[in-house]
């Protein structure tokens, strides 16, 4: 997402005046994602909101203490928390499909291994091997060894964990966004900008 250009910035004008212009634009960008990013399915908008929060955080990081009142530092912390939360959500949005794909590959590989094991047994029978207790035990050993090496249960557990985490993080995000609104985040931050 490309950052909106901030107009009327002047290197010779006071830092606080310029910083206020930048904060105002970055705050407006962050707010613009409000309605869309609240939809749990719109992970792209949540990602863009994270970028917007990051840009607001950056300008506050270098100017909050020097240029504005104490609320700017509170706003910096709240913005950082929001960005971190959205970053955690984004991590899961990247990991979940990657793990699901990995699991699918393992499933295909596992199915193929099982087919090979059964085919080996069928060939042995076709060649006249008797279905004795010993051949059953041998088949069982190979099956158990294959089962012990199976990577799927761990990946399934990891995938389930990441999905649960995503849901929990999203719920926290909704709560954090609601709190920002209740606390009058935008109005209070604009209030300390002085323009």
């Amino acid at each position: 997402m490309k950052a909106k250009r901030v107009k009327k910035l002047d290197p010779e004008a006071p830092l606080a005046e310029n910083a206020a212009r930048i904060v105002r634009v970055r705050l407006s960008e962050l707010r613009s994602f409000g309605p869309k990013a609240l939809d749990p399915e719109r992970s792209r908008d949540q990602h863009d909101m994270r970028i917007a929060a990051k840009r607001l955080r950056y300008v506050l990081e270098v100017t909050a203490e020097t240029c504005f009142g104490p609320y700017a530092e509170t706003a910096l912390k709240r913005t950082k928390d929001l960005q971190d939360l959205l970053g955690e959500i984004h991590d899961r949005d990247v990991q979940v499909p990657m793990l699901a794909e990995h699991l699918e590959t393992l499933r295909e590989r596992g199915d193929e291994a099982a087919r090979r094991l059964v085919a080996q047994e069928q060939r042995a029978r076709a060649n006249g091997a008797a279905a004795s207790e010993a051949t059953y035990r041998s088949f069982r050993r190979r099956l158990d060894a294959w089962s012990r090496a199976d990577q799927r249960p761990g990946i399934e557990a990891l995938l389930a964990r990441r999905r649960r985490e995503r849901d929990a993080l999203y719920a926290r995000f909704l709560g954090e966004w609601a709190r920002l609104r209740e606390d009058g985040f935008r109005g209070r931050l604009e209030g300390v900008l002085g323009i």
């Binding site: 950052a3 910035l9 002047d10 290197p11 010779e12 004008a13 006071p14 830092l15 606080a16 005046e17 310029n18 910083a19 930048i22 840009r55 950056y58 300008v59 990081e61 270098v62 100017t63 020097t66 240029c67 504005f68 990995h102 393992l106 012990r148 090496a149 199976d150 990577q151 799927r152 249960p153 761990g154 990946i155 399934e156 557990a157 990891l158 964990r161």
Partner: protein
């Protein structure tokens, strides 16, 4: 995570160009300071600190863009972004490995092979990312980047109405880097200055 070094004498009333110059100088010195032992795979905090320093520097360059000459700014910003990306690739693996190892400890033994296999893959990627990072943190390359950053800071100070400050000697970065092997001078509030 290393705390950001305070920007001495920064004031909201001074011209933005001067403020930008002060911030970029301090953030540049932090970048150089945190490049020490960054390639050590056993001590992932070093890399994290350098990544954070790079992020802060990049933020300053982006926020104060109008204070710098366009072409030089774009070129330096690209170099900082490339460095940040290379650090990020390593960091992503560092974090994922720790997270998966913690997760694996909570699993029953039969469920561990899958996660162990993922960790092995990540370790290979971590080594590859480290090798890809190596040229970016080479002492000469970092010294050259720092020199360009200090020149940008001087330009910003000019635009803010002040004569350029005496630039820190980037040569010292190379000398000290040769001593500690990974690429920076002694820590200190003034960085390379």
């Amino acid at each position: 995570m290393a705390k950001a070094r305070p920007i001495g004498e920064l004031s909201g009333k001074e011209p933005m160009g001067l403020g930008a110059a002060r911030i970029v100088r301090v953030r540049t010195s932090e970048l150089a300071d945190h490049s020490r032992e960054v390639l050590e795979l056993g001590e992932v905090d070093h890399l994290h600190d350098m990544r954070v320093a790079t992020r802060r520097l990049r933020a300053a360059l982006e926020v104060f863009e109008p204070c710098f000459p366009g072409k030089a700014h774009a070129s330096v910003l690209d170099a900082v972004k490339d460095l940040a990306d290379a650090l990020g690739e390593r960091r992503d693996r560092d974090v994922a490995i720790v997270s998966l190892q913690e997760f694996s400890q909570g699993l029953a033994a039969p469920d561990r092979p899958g996660v162990r296999s993922l960790v092995e893959t990540l370790r290979r990627e971590q080594i590859e990312a480290n090798e890809a990072l190596r040229p970016y943190v080479a002492p000469e390359r970092l010294a050259s980047l720092c020199e360009r950053l200090y020149e940008l800071a001087d330009e910003a100070a000019n635009r803010g109405g002040q004569a350029p400050a005496e630039a820190p000697a980037p040569e010292r970065l190379t000398e000290a880097s040769a001593e500690n092997g990974a690429g920076t001078h002694e820590n200190g509030a003034g960085g390379l200055q």
